[in-house]
Symmetry: C2
Subunit: 344 residues, 2 copies
C-alpha cells in the first residue's frame, strides 16, 4: 500500500507557480509578494503539506537525529538515561532513535551500522557486554563521526565520555558491608573486560585493602551478559556457595545481577540479610518495595543522559574538528536499606 504524500510540486502545479517560489513562500522569503505567500500558505495548509525530511536530509547532509545504543531499554538505568537524553535532544530540535543491543556484539554491530550510515548526526553508546572488538566504532571515529560514550566506555577511542565514579560506588558499597560486620564479601560482576566491571571491582578491592581484608579471587564471579539471563547468575552463585569459604555478603555490580541474586536467594530459602547481605548497583525504582528492601548504589542516570547529549550536540554542531575530549564523572549515591542491615 503506497502512501502518496503531498509535495511542493503539487502546490506549484495547482497554483501555477514554480517550485522555487513555493519553497520561498513557505519559508517566508522577502522575495515573495504578500499575496503569493498568502495563497501558497493557505493552499499548503488546506492540503496538509509537510516538508519531506528525507529530501531535506539528503540536501543538507544532516538529519537532526541522534542515535542511541543501549543494552536493554527494560533496564531502569538505561530507560532513565534515555529520558535524560530526550529531555535535551528535543529542546534542541533533535529526534532520538533508540536501539538495543541486548548485550550482543552482533546486534550492536548491526545497530551501529544502521545508525551510522547517515541516518543520524551522532551516536550515544553504552557498549554491549559481549563487545571486545571495537573496529566498527574506531572506523567511524577516525572519520570524524561524532560519538559519545556513556556508562560502559573504552580507553582505545578518544572522544567525549560520561561515567559515574564506579570505583567510588564499589568502594562505598564494600566499605558499608565491612563496617556492618561482614567478613566474607563476594562480588558478582559483569563481563571482566568492561570498564564498569574493572572500576567497580577496583573499588571493591580498594575497600578490602583499606580494611586489611585479603582479596580472595574465588569470591569474585563474572557474568558475561550482566545477569540478563538468570542461568548465568545461578551458575555463578552455585559455584560461590559450593566453596568451603562461604560468603556472608555479596556486592552485585549491576542491576540485573542484583535482582537475580534476590531471586536466587528467595528460590532457595536463603534469607537476606540474615544468611547473606546484599548490596548492588541498581536504578530500579521499586527497591524500597522489595522484600527485603534493597541497599543500592544508585547512579544519576537521567543526568548522565543529559550530560552525554550536551557533549554530543557540541560535537555535532562544532564547526571545526574537535580534538580536545573530556571525560565527565558523576557521583553515585549510596542508599542503605534492610538487605544489608547490621550483622548481629
Amino acid at each position: 500500500m503506497k502512501y502518496e504524500a503531498v509535495t511542493i510540486k503539487d502546490i506549484a502545479k495547482e497554483l501555477g507557480l514554480s517550485t522555487s517560489t513555493v519553497s520561498r513562500a513557505l519559508r517566508d522569503s522577502y522575495e515573495i509578494s504578500p499575496e503569493t505567500k498568502k495563497m501558497v500558505l493557505e493552499y499548503a495548509e488546506k492540503i496538509n503539506y509537510r516538508p519531506n525530511p528525507i529530501a531535506l536530509s539528503l540536501k543538507e547532509k544532516r538529519t537532526r537525529s541522534i542515535g542511541i545504543v543501549v543494552a536493554e531499554i527494560a533496564n531502569s538505568f538505561f530507560s532513565q538515561i534515555i529520558n535524560g537524553i530526550e529531555s535535551i535532544a528535543y529542546d534542541k530540535g533533535y529526534n532520538v532513535i533508540i536501539t538495543q543491543s541486548h548485550e550482543s556484539f552482533e546486534r550492536e554491530l548491526i545497530n551501529v551500522q544502521y545508525l551510522a550510515s547517515r541516518s543520524i548526526d551522532g551516536l550515544l553508546i553504552s557498549l554491549a557486554s559481549e563487545t571486545r572488538d571495537l573496529s566498527h566504532l574506531k572506523h567511524l571515529h577516525e572519520r570524524g563521526y561524532p560519538i559519545v560514550f556513556f556508562d560502559r566506555i573504552v580507553d582505545e577511542i578518544d572522544t567525549h565520555k560520561v561515567i559515574v565514579d564506579n570505583k567510588k560506588g564499589g568502594y562505598d558499597a564494600t566499605k558499608h558491608l565491612i563496617e556492618s560486620g561482614y567478613k566474607h564479601i563476594a562480588a558478582l560482576a559483569n563481563a571482566e573486560y568492561l570498564s564498569i566491571t574493572r572500576d567497580r571491582l577496583g573499588g571493591y578491592q580498594a575497600a578490602l585493602e583499606d580494611h586489611k581484608i585479603k582479596y580472595d579471587e574465588s569470591l569474585v564471579k563474572f557474568c558475561l551478559h550482566g545477569g540478563l539471563v538468570y542461568d548465568e547468575v545461578e551458575q555463578a552463585l552455585d559455584s560461590l556457595f559450593k566453596q568451603k569459604k562461604k560468603p556472608d555478603a555479596i556486592f552485585a555490580a549491576a542491576d540485573k545481577l542484583t535482582t537475580n541474586c534476590l531471586r536466587y536467594f528467595k528460590a532457595r530459602g536463603i534469607r537476606v540479610p540474615q544468611d547473606i547481605a546484599v548490596i548492588g548497583f541498581s536504578n530500579i525504582d521499586l527497591t524500597e518495595l522489595l522484600s527485603p528492601s534493597l541497599s543500592v548504589v544508585r547512579q544519576p542516570a537521567f543526568e548522565m543522559g543529559q550530560v552525554a547529549t550536551e557533549l554530543l550536540l557540541n560535537l555535532i554542531e562544532s564547526k571545526r574538528p574537535v580534538k580536545d575530549f573530556e571525560t565527565k564523572m558523576l557521583q553515585p549515591d549510596l542508599f542503605i536499606r534492610e538487605s544489608t542491615s547490621r550483622k548481629k
Copy 2:
C-alpha cells in the same frame, strides 16, 4: 564537524567510470563485465563504501523503518512489547524507531508527526492517556498510511488492532477478590475514556454483578496519567479512604497504578493484605520479589508486539489498499500471590 561520507561518485571518479556503471556493478548487474565488477567491488570495499539510505529512501519512497509510540519505555509492559516488535521487524529487515509520549497528548502529536512525515513506512501506537483528539491519526489513516493500534485502541479508526481481553482480566481479578472473601472492592483506573479503562472496569463491574454485589461508583477512581505521577494516585487513594465505606480490597487497572498503590500503603503503614488486598494489571518481572509478593493480571506483551508488527508489515507490503481489518485479542494470565491471600 562535518562527516564526509564516501559516495558512488567517488568510486566512479577514481575508477574512471560513470555512476551508473558503478551502481550496476555494486548491484551485480549482468550488464557489467566481471573485471569491472571486481574492480568496483574491491575499491568499494577498500574505501568502506556504504550506500546512503537517505538517498535510497528518497528514491524508493520507503525507509524500511517502522515507528512506535508508547507511553513509557520504562514501563515493563511496553518494553516487553517493544522487544516483541523488534523480534519480528528485524527478521523482516525493518528497523524500529521508538518514541515515548509520556502520556502527553502534545508529545504524542509531535512524535506522530515526526514519524509520519515519511521517515517511516508504518506506525504502531498505543495512545497516550491524555489523548482524546484523534484527528492527527485520522488524517493519516484516511490517506492510507499504515497504522496498527495496540493496547490502547480506538473505535473511531478502522484498522488492525491488537489487545488483550481486558474485560476478562478485570473480571478474573475481581472474581478472585470476591471469592477470597473481600466485600468492598475498590477500583483504580487510568483515564476514563481509554479503551483499556472501559474494558477492565467493565470486567470489574460484571464480576460484581455476577456475585450479586452492588456496583458502587464511589469506590472507583480515575488517574488521568495512569499513575505516572505519584500524586495522582495519592489523591485518588486519599479520597477513597476518606469515605465512610472503606474498601478492603483494591483492583488497580495498570502497572504504575499498582506499584504506586503499594508505595502508598507502605508509606502509611497500611498492611497488605491484612488491611487491604491488592491485585493489579502488571508486567513487571519483580512481582514475586515485592513485599508482599503481588497478585497480578499479566498481559502477553511480547506476543502482543509480535502480532501487531506482523499485522503492520502486512499492511505495508500489501499491493492494494487493505479494507478488511481485524482486531486480535490475546488472553491475559492471572497470578495469585500474597497480596490477595484469603481474608480470615
